[in-house]
């Protein structure tokens, strides 16, 4: 992983973007589990659109363009990768546990598929520069309908305000275009899941923004990111890699 002086452009809370991501994986036990998770879930078969289709739609030849990404933009994409991974894992686990039903389950299926497509697209774009995936333990929130919907609202709100927070920092117009096109589905999801939850879908006229430090602090504070798979859930599967 590159750690250059260019990272200083995204310094937040006294840490560079790279350092912040390392902080999330604070135990230093980050595992290369995403590839296995991909294989397990077969998500490329179930996602409504795969990463290839996503980039084809954007006319961005991922592998070629990615080699020219600046360290600044690479760090931001890795930050977004972490965010998308935790969202994808949460909704994927909720779908598999199936403690929810009806419109909530349908939303989990669709949102999960979209988040997995985002993860796949970011992985394709980042290539060898992609950081490793941590493991996740959602501490039972996927097993209880009320806990699920509250957490789902928080995740989709977080996705929107976090992406809005980094868009101005992205240097390459092509990357900014990609991220903007991923941002609005996150905000659509926020409006959708909030409506299902009976929570005001759009309380403000202007979206809030989170810095990377603010978002990573929130995610890290949940306890959802773990150094190794645990088995706290009573329903199967008990963890998401």
């Amino acid at each position: 992983m590159d750690q250059t002086t260019s990272d200083a452009a995204i310094v937040a809370g006294g840490m560079t973007g790279t350092e912040l991501l390392q902080h999330v994986d604070r135990d230093g036990a980050v595992q290369q589990t995403m590839a296995a998770a991909v294989s397990r879930s077969g998500f490329l078969k179930t996602a409504l659109f795969g990463a290839g289709a996503l980039f084809a739609a954007l006319n961005v030849p991922g592998a070629i363009a990615a080699s020219n990404d600046s360290p600044n933009d690479t760090a931001i994409l890795n930050y977004l990768l972490t965010l998308e991974r935790v969202q994808a894992a949460f909704f994927g686990e909720a779908e598999r546990v199936a403690a929810i039903s009806g419109r909530e389950l349908q939303a989990a299926k669709i949102i999960g598929a979209v988040e997995r497509a985002h993860v796949a697209a970011l992985l394709e774009r980042l290539g060898a520069k992609a950081i490793a995936s941590p493991s996740f333990d959602f501490l039972g929130t996927t097993e209880d309908p009320e806990a699920f919907i509250k957490t789902a609202v928080a995740f989709e709100d977080l996705g929107s305000v976090s992406i809005a927070g980094v868009l101005p920092d992205i240097q390459a117009p092509a990357i900014r275009t990609i991220v903007a096109s991923v941002h609005t589905p996150e905000a659509r999801h926020a409006g959708w899941i909030r409506t299902l939850a009976g929570v005001d879908p759009a309380p403000n006229a202007i979206e809030g923004v989170n810095t990377q430090a603010e978002t990573l602090k929130l995610v890290n504070g949940t306890g959802f990111i773990v150094s190794e798979p645990l088995t706290t859930a009573t329903l199967s599967p008990s963890f998401t890699g």
Binding site: V161, A190, E207
Partner: protein, 207 residues
């Protein structure tokens, strides 16, 4: 036994932390600090030359949204949740217009006459469908310019289009659409395509 106790303790800590997460993520830390309540600072009269055309194109879209939602809200056709949506969308869209006008300053174009085909107000379902379609066009219009705006420009527009996107998810859910937001991306379109799609929907824009 020890493992069970450890997991229970961790879950309890996680529950406490999730409360902060659920509350803190909802509107963004900046919003919680009051930034949103006072608008977007330090952008008015600073639009770069390259941003002016883009922001004026987006201003037109927001004016269309505001006009439609306000007119629909005043028709007395809607009620309940749909009426709540229309009132809120109109208020937010009008705020977006204000923000864009402030950003453009003296470069803001005059508001054209904006009208709509009667079919767009024919029934609650027609209103909900048109409202969702208008939001889709607006989102595509915003995203079509994401790569060409300055950093200050995207800092403004990303915070407006996110709300339009929330509205899209909201109205589609109210309308009972099965697949509310199934696409992983919202591809952008240029200003000419925006006008074309608005026209095809039944929006009439005069000089």
């Amino acid at each position: 036994m020890a493992d069970t106790a450890s997991r229970s303790a961790r879950a309890e800590t996680g529950m406490q932390r999730r409360s902060e997460f659920i509350g803190g993520a909802a509107i963004g830390a900046a919003a919680a600090a009051g930034v949103v309540a006072i608008g977007i600072p330090a952008f008015a009269d600073s639009a770069s030359e390259g941003d002016v055309a883009v922001l004026n194109a987006l201003l037109l879209v927001e004016r269309v949204l505001a006009a439609y939602h306000r007119q629909a809200a005043d028709t007395a056709i809607a009620s309940g949740d749909l009426q709540t949506y229309l009132d809120r969308a109109a208020t937010h869209d009008e705020r977006h217009v204000d923000e864009l006008v402030a950003a453009l300053g003296s470069d803001a174009e005059a508001e054209p006459t904006i009208g709509f085909d009667d079919t767009l107000f024919a029934s609650p379902q027609a209103i909900a469908t048109a409202a969702g379609d208008l939001k889709d066009i607006a989102i595509a219009g915003y995203n079509g310019h994401a790569g060409s705006l300055s950093a200050a420009g995207i800092a403004l527009t990303s915070r407006l289009v996110a709300i339009d996107s929330r509205h899209a998810g909201w109205i589609r859910t109210l309308a009972g659409v099965e697949l509310v937001a199934p696409q992983p991306t919202d591809p952008g379109i240029d200003a000419r395509e925006v006008r074309s799609r608005l026209h095809d929907l039944g929006v009439r824009i005069g000089g």
